[in-house]
C-alpha cells in the first residue's frame, strides 16, 4: 500500500506548525447548485474547530471535502500540507488512516455487530486479534457502551448509534477527527453526554477535530468546559475561562462569514452573525 507521509515526516510537519487541514479557495457545486464559494481556512494542530451555519449551507459537504470523499471543483484542500488533488487513490486511502469520521447519520455497517463495526479499521490494518478486542473494548468503554458490544446497529437507539460511531472513529487513534453533527436530533441530556465525549477526547488525547453543530449551546459548552481527569467529568473552566484551542467557523450562503476565537465571535458586530447567534 502506498504511503501518505511517513510517521517521522508527520511529526516534523506538526512541530513546524503545518496546519492539519487547510482549505485554499475551495469551490464546490452540484449541477446548478453552488454550495461553497471560495472557502479558505486553516485548522492548526490541537485545535477544535466548531463549524456553524444554517441547515443546507454545505457543512457536511465541507467535511467530506476535508477527507477526500468529495473533490472540489476548484481550489485545494491540504491535509498536513499535502494537497488532496495530487494524491492517487491509494495514497488517499493511506491519508484517511490518520482521520476518523463521525457521519451525520452515523453510517454504521448494519450487517455486522457493534464490535465488528468498531474493529473494522483495525481488522483492515491486520492488527492482531487479541489487541483488536482490547482496543475495541477500550473505545466502547470510552463511550460507555461496552454492554452493547454484541448488538447490531438496527437494535440501537439514535444516541447509541452516534456513540458507536464515535468509538469507531477514535479506535485507531487518528490525528484528526471529523464530527458531523454528533448531537443532531438528540435530546439535551444525550447531547450533553456526547459533547462531554468530545471534550474528553480533546483534553485527554489532544486530537485535532472539526465539529459541525446546529446547537449553539453545544458549541459554547465546548468552549467553556474542560475535562477534569480527577472527577472523570466535564466541568466549567473556573473564573469564566475559555478553552484557547476551540475556534469557530461560520458559513452562510457558501462563504465563510466568521473565522476566529470564541471571544471574537461573541464580540462580533456583524448584523447577520448577531441575529444568528441570538
Amino acid at each position: 500500500m502506498a504511503e501518505f507521509l511517513s510517521e517521522a515526516t508527520i511529526k516534523e510537519r506538526l512541530d513546524a506548525g503545518v496546519p492539519i487541514v487547510e482549505f485554499d479557495h475551495v469551490s464546490m457545486r452540484f449541477d446548478a447548485n453552488e454550495v461553497l464559494r471560495s472557502v479558505s481556512f486553516k485548522v492548526a494542530h490541537g485545535e477544535t474547530r466548531v463549524i456553524l451555519g444554517p441547515a443546507g449551507v454545505g457543512k457536511s459537504v465541507l467535511m467530506k471535502l476535508a477527507n477526500g470523499l468529495l473533490m472540489p471543483d476548484s481550489g485545494e484542500v491540504r491535509v498536513l500540507g499535502r494537497s488532496l488533488n495530487e494524491m492517487n487513490e491509494s495514497e488517499m486511502f493511506a491519508m484517511r488512516a490518520h482521520v476518523g469520521m463521525v457521519f451525520q447519520e452515523s453510517a454504521l455497517f448494519d450487517s455486522i455487530n457493534v464490535e465488528d463495526n468498531v474493529a473494522y479499521r483495525l481488522e483492515e490494518e491486520h492488527v492482531p486479534p487479541a489487541e483488536i478486542h482490547a482496543r475495541v473494548v477500550e473505545a466502547l468503554q470510552f463511550v460507555e457502551l461496552e454492554k452493547a458490544i454484541a448488538k447490531f446497529p438496527p437494535e440501537l437507539s439514535g444516541g447509541m448509534r452516534r456513540r458507536v460511531s464515535i468509538a469507531r472513529a477514535i479506535v485507531s487513534r487518528p490525528q484528526l477527527i471529523l464530527y458531523d453533527s454528533p448531537t443532531g436530533g438528540l435530546d439535551p441530556i444525550t447531547s450533553t453526554t456526547i459533547i462531554e465525549l468530545v471534550v474528553k477526547q480533546r483534553d485527554v488525547s489532544h486530537t485535532t477535530s472539526l465539529l459541525i453543530t446546529h446547537r449553539l449551546q453545544d458549541a459554547f459548552t465546548l468552549a467553556t468546559h474542560h475535562f477534569d481527569q480527577q472527577t472523570g467529568h466535564m466541568e466549567p473552566i473556573p473564573d469564566g475561562g475559555i478553552d484557547p484551542g476551540t475556534k469557530f467557523l461560520v458559513i452562510n450562503e457558501g462563504r465563510v462569514v466568521f473565522d476566529g476565537t470564541t471571544q471574537e465571535l461573541v464580540r462580533s458586530d456583524d448584523p447577520w452573525l448577531k441575529a444568528y447567534l441570538s
Binding site: N67, L69, V99, F103
Partner: protein, 259 residues
C-alpha cells in the same frame, strides 16, 4: 417527468456506459493485487451459489420435462420419437441451461446486489467504508464478481443435469420410451463444441450479473425510492444483456465449431 433532449439523453447513455466499463475494469484489476477479500468472496459464493440451488434445480428439471413433452409431439409425426433424448440434451446444454440459469440467478442476485449496495450508498455506508480506508470496489464488487462467475458455471452444469433428468423422467414415465435409449441418444448427440458453448455462456452471464448489479447499486441516489428504482433497472438491464450476449456467443461458437 420532463422530456430530455436527444442530446442530453445520448450524453447520459454514453457516460453510463463509460462509468460501467470503468467499474468493471477496476473490479477485474483488483483481482490481481492485494488486499483481497477472500472471506467476503466465500460468503458471496454461498449466497449466490448455494442460495440459488433450489430455483436452478427446479427450473432445470421442469424445463427438461417440457422439452421432452414438446419434442415428442412433433417427432411423433415423423416417426422419430426415439430422437427425443437428442433434442432435449442439445437444447438444454447449448441454450436453455445457460440462459435460464443466467436469468434465474440474475432475478435473484442482481436485485439482491443492487438493493444491498444501494441501501449502503444512500445510508452513507459506502462513504463510511471509504473514510475507513477501504476501497468499496475491492471489498464489495470484486468478491461478488468472482463468486458469480464461478458459481454460475457450476449452477449451469447442475441445471443441465437436472434438465436431462427431467427429460428422461417424462420420456420414461409418460412417453414409455426406453431409458437406456434415451440416455444413449442424448449422450451421443453432444459434441465437444456444444459443451464448450454451454460452459462459456455462464462465464459471461456471471460477469454481467455481478457488474450490472453492483453498478446500479453504487450509483443509487435519492433514498429508499432510489434503491427500488436501481433494483428494477439492474434486473431489467442484466436480463436483456444476458440474452443479448447469449446471441453473440452463439454466433461466435457457430463460427468456430460450425454448429
Amino acid at each position: 417527468m420532463p422530456l430530455a433532449s436527444p442530446e442530453a439523453l445520448a450524453k447520459k447513455i454514453v457516460s453510463s456506459v463509460q462509468e460501467y466499463s470503468l467499474l468493471s475494469a477496476r473490479a477485474v484489476a483488483d483481482l490481481f493485487s492485494t488486499p483481497r477479500y477472500i472471506a467476503d468472496t466465500y460468503t458471496q459464493m454461498d449466497s449466490i451459489g448455494f442460495g440459488s440451488l433450489p430455483i436452478v434445480i427446479l427450473t432445470g428439471f421442469f424445463t427438461g420435462c417440457v422439452l421432452a413433452l414438446q419434442a415428442a409431439v412433433t417427432l411423433k409425426e415423423f416417426g422419430a420419437v426415439n430422437m427425443t433424448g437428442r433434442l432435449v440434451s442439445l437444447s438444454m446444454v447449448k441454450e436453455l441451461g445457460p440462459v435460464l440459469t443466467g436469468l434465474m440467478v440474475s432475478g435473484r442476485n442482481t436485485s439482491g446486489m443492487a438493493s444491498e449496495l444501494g441501501s449502503m450508498k444512500v445510508s452513507e455506508q459506502i462513504d463510511a467504508m471509504r473514510a475507513l480506508g477501504t476501497d468499496p470496489v475491492r471489498k464489495l464488487v470484486a468478491p461478488r464478481l468472482v463468486a458469480s462467475v464461478v458459481m454460475l458455471f457450476f449452477l449451469t452444469i447442475i441445471a443441465d443435469a437436472c434438465g436431462m433428468a427431467g427429460g428422461a423422467a417424462v420420456s420414461v414415465i409418460l412417453l414409455r420410451l426406453n431409458a437406456g435409449a434415451f440416455l444413449h441418444s442424448s449422450y451421443m448427440a453432444l459434441q465437444y463444441g456444444d459443451i464448450v458453448e454451454g460452459l462459456v455462456k455462464p462465464l459471461f452471464s456471471g460477469f454481467i450479473i455481478a457488474t450490472v448489479g453492483c453498478y446500479y447499486g453504487l450509483k443509487t441516489t435519492g433514498g429508499t425510492r432510489g434503491v427500488g428504482q436501481s433494483t428494477t433497472q439492474a434486473v431489467v438491464v442484466s436480463s436483456v444483456f444476458i440474452i443479448l450476449v447469449d446471441f453473440l456467443v452463439t454466433q461466435l461458437m457457430i463460427g468456430i465449431f460450425g454448429r
